[in-house]
């Protein structure tokens, strides 16, 4: 009972965090802020996937969570490398 409410609260918090990231992404003052907003969005989406799978009892969502986490990190690295050096793989 209390666990259901806590899970709903956590899902609501991460969904609201995702909306705040979207606002930041739309109104970002620079390129680095946009990359940071997208990076935070992938982190929040990963948390949402894991919490939703805990709620629905599915066991296949953790691969999706791990894939989201890894592609988010690699894309942030690639963006930063491009902005720093002008190319991703030198």
């Amino acid at each position: 009972m209390i666990l259901d409410h806590a899970l709903t609260f956590a899902i609501g918090c991460f969904a609201l965090a995702l909306l705040l990231n979207l606002i930041r992404f739309a109104t970002a003052p620079g390129f680095a802020d946009r990359v940071l907003a997208v990076d935070t969005m992938t982190v929040n989406v990963t948390a949402l996937v894991v919490l939703y799978s805990a709620r629905s009892g599915s066991v296949f969502s953790f691969e999706a969570a791990l894939l989201f986490a890894m592609t988010g990190f690699v894309s942030t690295m690639a963006f930063c490398k491009y902005l720093l050096r002008g190319s991703i793989v030198e």
Partner: protein, 123 residues
Amino acid sequence: MTALAEITVAVLLVAGGLFGLIGSYGLLRLKDRMQRLHAPTKATTLGVGTALVAVAFHIWLTEDRFAFREILVAVFFFATAPLSALFLAKVHLFRDIPRDSLPPTGTGSTWATLTPDPPGGKS
């Protein structure tokens, strides 16, 4: 599942959600870009890690198996968040800060982010 374990998982979930929300709110509200870097890379990582640990604990209590994959995702976040923060700080240093306003390095050479080729040749 005992009531104590249930309350522990619930508290971890609520704390994780609050930390994630605070991280994203800080990303929206803080003024300087270097300050904005702190909120998602620390608070959000802590919040997501707490939520993942809560889910893993819940699986361990109800299904009696150790949830390797959730812990793996949490460890991955804790390992990669500092790297993202470091590289975004390097991008900020490289693009937005005037070169003559940087403090001296004290080593004779300039900041490693600003050198055309990193020490030891091309990377």
